[in-house]
Subunit: 336 residues, 2 copies
């Protein structure tokens, strides 16, 4: 097996060098904390009386998570190593730097390592007298049955969930309300992915799993977690249908309902293929009588250079529509 | 050689299906002409008395070209097949649909097929009594010596050149002035790329050139045109240095001068690697006493799923700074 070609210097320094490049590229949007270089905070956004939203997780999913730090969205991000949870301290440092006296919401994908570390961060914050709450995102339909939603992983749907919660906080809602919005947004968000190739960690440059040529894996997670079905690569429309069928069966939307759509690249899959998928998504939603309020297409939640894509639908109501439309301004994401 | 895995239906329908997906995703920003489905026009932007800017070229470089259609940037785009120039008619149809009586600027990369087809479009427009001018982008440093700038190809620097010209037109400058701005922006824009892998056309799913594992090619074009040097893949900093050395040697900037930076993915290379490159770019520019006015990092001008990256510098002056800062609103690009 040959090494994956990467434009890096040293796999062990890749995350810190990336963060240096981000700080250099986006000085008007984000800053690194001098005493905590793995904590990224928003230049604008945090303010007295506002609930602080701190997101985070492993690196390698850029622009998730740190790309969603900015005014109207997340206030800070704790950055882990590639595909590895950050330890508690960057989360604590991030929260201490951005909290406005109205409490902190830790908002991140449901992975055991992240839960353990952010829970420790919460305890450390409570010792400082800062109220900390947690909402886990669990939008990955393939990762557990519908009856066990709280066992599911958080994937690309993070974008919509972070956006809704970020807007709620920006609108100065109190902590209880921001937590309610985040739970509500998560409960109405559904993602299915498909992998066409493995990716490889900067440290090893070796594929993190084996997917034979000509095969795809439906439902694979963003760290290569096993999916629900492996088989020959089908045409884009059939792949979109299989992912949409799973989502729509659970979403139980009525004709006339509105949705937000995200067609996401896992890394190497280019815009052309994503828009081909979206053509089918739009066709299927129209056939189901569903109205598309907004569509995002591009690399929003990636797995390094993995080839593949995911489709996310958020089942909207008036509140979620208003929150998605609320302005935000991040280095790597804008809306409104 | 195995087939490249792609999420497409039929290679021959890929471009049209992509355009259907774009129209479905971005109805507030762009529209397709009923009588010319390969012409994409901006919903907002075109207006009486305004110079119309029409860009275009082969598909497969998304978001180049059609992603830069929108208010404050290009008014329309003529869309070719993958890596193939559009014929004259979509360019004529696009121009007819968006011109405001103040003339049309065709603005696109310097490739023989594009020049031939857009020149025919210009003649057809002139027969309709519409003044049409052309500015070719020639930012690819590796594609011809400095003394033969007009032989160079246009690549990722398009983003800055389109932006400057689009702002000039949005500010209601007359055609002569918009042409002057486009030439000026092009003359001050320099790009160098590096390829780490081939890409493959949707029709064939076979790599369009052969690059052995462990090798890189500096200066390769965005359709796989031969570069200036092939050799073992070096660490990111050495690659960035080699590309920057070529750019800075030509740019002849003085300490204190300002630049715009674009670190661009050719497709499969993820944000982590781009930001690692940018950390080095920022370091080198600081060492040269140059000030970074704005940095863009991401997939802006791609070659389907090719792995690799390019670095673009635009040598700014007060006029170019003002034009880059001018607001714009495209489906796939915003500024200001």
């Amino acid at each position: 097996m040959t090494e994956t070609q990467k434009l890096i210097n040293d796999g062990n320094r890749a995350v810190d060098e990336m963060l240096a490049g981000i700080a250099a590229a986006h000085p008007h949007h984000v800053a690194r904390l001098d005493h905590a270089p793995r904590a990224i905070i928003a230049r604008h956004g945090p303010r007295p009386g506002k609930v602080a939203i701190v997101v985070g997780g492993g690196s390698g999913h850029e622009p998730t998570f740190l790309g969603y730090v900015g005014k109207g969205l997340a206030d800070a991000c704790a950055v882990g190593n590639v595909f590895a949870s950050p330890p508690p301290q960057p989360a604590v440092d991030a929260a201490m730097a951005v909290h406005g006296g109205a409490g902190v919401l830790f908002l991140y994908g449901n992975y055991a390592g992240d839960v353990m570390n952010f829970d420790m961060a919460s305890e450390l914050l409570e010792m400082e007298g800062i109220e900390a709450r947690t909402v886990l995102t669990t939008d990955d339909v393939a990762s557990a049955p519908a009856g066990e939603r709280d066992k599911r992983r958080g994937v690309a749907g993070n974008v919509f969930i972070f956006k809704a919660a970020g807007a709620a906080a920006d609108l100065m809602m109190p902590l209880d309300e921001v937590v309610r919005v985040a739970h509500h947004a998560n409960a109405r968000t559904y993602t299915m992915g498909v992998a066409l190739s493995a990716c490889s960690l900067p440290q090893t440059r070796r594929p993190n799993f084996d997917l034979p040529a000509g095969q795809m894996e439906i439902g694979m997670g963003i760290h290569g977690e096993p999916g629900v079905r492996r088989g020959p690569l089908l045409p884009a429309n059939a792949v979109a249908d299989e992912m949409l069928d799973a989502i729509l069966a659970e979403m139980k939307a009525d004709p006339g309902d509105e949705v937000a759509v995200l067609v996401n690249s896992l890394g190497a899959t280019p815009l052309m293929e994503l828009y081909i998928l979206n053509a089918r998504v739009a066709e299927r939603l129209a056939a189901a009588g569903l109205k598309v309020h907004v569509t995002l297409v591009g690399p929003y939640c990636t797995s390094l250079e993995m080839a593949g894509a995911s489709i996310t639908l958020m089942h909207l109501d008036d509140e979620l529509k208003r929150l998605l439309d609320h302005p935000c301004d991040c280095a790597m994401f804008r809306a409104g």
